[in-house]
């Protein structure tokens, strides 16, 4: 959008869009829920590196928000049942 608004729905949209468009991250199984000034992020990530990148994206898109990270790490392909 053309400007920044803070309704939770709009923040969630901006985060979803930013993660999708982040070149090289490729993480689509991430969900955001905004509760006041807290961003609750959940889902499975491929690696700790991706988790760190995700936090960088959140901080860039939504500075000033606290992040509650409920993400897990996906099992490598060889370990999946």
């Amino acid at each position: 959008m053309n400007s920044e608004s803070s309704a939770p729905e709009y923040v969630e949209r901006r985060l979803t869009q930013a993660v999708a468009e982040h070149h090289g991250l490729g993480e689509l199984e991430v969900d955001f829920r905004v509760e006041g000034e807290v961003i609750v992020v959940s889902g499975n990530l491929a690696s700790e590196e991706h988790r760190a990148t995700l936090h960088e994206v959140i901080a860039e898109v939504c500075p000033g928000y606290e992040v509650q990270d409920l993400t897990g790490l996906a099992k490598p392909p060889g370990e999946r049942s």
Binding site: M1, N2, S3, A7, P8, E9, Y10, E12, Q17
Partner: protein, 249 residues
């Protein structure tokens, strides 16, 4: 009080000549302007547009419209637009117009809108070019609506779209298709553009009214929803003060 009549999804075809016009005969007694929220035709054929033009021409109130997805089906949207404009209908596509009414100026910003979805189920601009194009189109439509709203100088502003800006007015539709019925990006444009009211169509099985996260009233005026030729909203000092329709008494 500015009286805004609105209808959407009239879906006129070549067999529809004379079917709408009688119900608009005395519209000036009830409204200062008529807004049409897209899907004026069945399949966007210019022949159908000629029928729509005949039905909407020459009434005593300004008629302002946006196209819907049906109006794009024949890849003749530009011609459809020209035919309607030739009949005196103001067609909005990421644009706005100010109308002088007896009760003051009314601004209308309009665009078709697009899908994209609503939290927590939104399309992501990732992967195939077609998917990225889908999301880019959604964002472009929303940006155009916000720009159009912000170009208006009057206090009372209406956002007119075909696609829905909120899920409230989709209640009754299958949640699985919400992402194809509208986009939260439109709601953000409506809030950021300080609209007084948002009007849309497209959701034939949806609900009549709702609100954006910022509190702007939203009305779904698809014909199957309003079950009347049009509904009338009263606006005063930039606020909705009355709703006249089957679900509003």
């Amino acid at each position: 009080m500015i009286r805004v009549a609105a209808m959407g999804d009239i879906h006129l075809g070549t067999e529809s000549r004379g079917m709408l016009r009688p119900s608009l005969a005395n519209i000036a007694d009830h409204a200062d302007v008529l807004l049409v929220a897209g899907d004026l035709t069945h399949v966007g054929d210019p022949t159908e547009a000629e029928i729509v033009a005949e039905e909407l021409a020459g009434h005593d109130v300004p008629v302002i419209a946006v196209l819907g997805n049906h109006d794009h089906q024949s890849d003749a949207a530009e011609k459809v637009t020209l035919i309607l404009e030739g009949a005196g209908v103001t067609m909005l596509d990421g644009t706005a117009i100010e109308v002088d009414t007896e009760s003051g100026p009314l601004g209308v910003a309009g665009t078709k809108g697009f899908g994209g979805g609503f939290p927590p189920a939104m399309a992501a601009g990732f992967g195939e070019p077609e998917m990225r194009a889908f999301v880019a189109t959604s964002n472009r439509e929303a940006d155009a609506l916000q720009d159009a709203l912000e170009s208006l100088r009057c206090e009372t502003r209406v956002a007119l779209t075909h696609y829905a800006p909120v899920v409230d007015t989709l209640a009754g539709e299958r949640p699985e298709i919400y992402a194809f019925l509208g986009s939260i990006a439109l709601a953000e444009a409506i809030d950021e553009g300080s609209a007084s009211l948002a009007i849309h169509g497209h959701a034939h099985l949806g609900a009549a009214s709702g609100a954006t996260p910022g509190g702007v009233p939203v009305m779904n005026v698809a014909q199957p929803v309003i079950r009347a030729p049009y509904t009338v909203v009263g606006l005063e000092d930039g606020k909705v003060v009355s709703l006249q329709g089957p679900d509003h008494g």
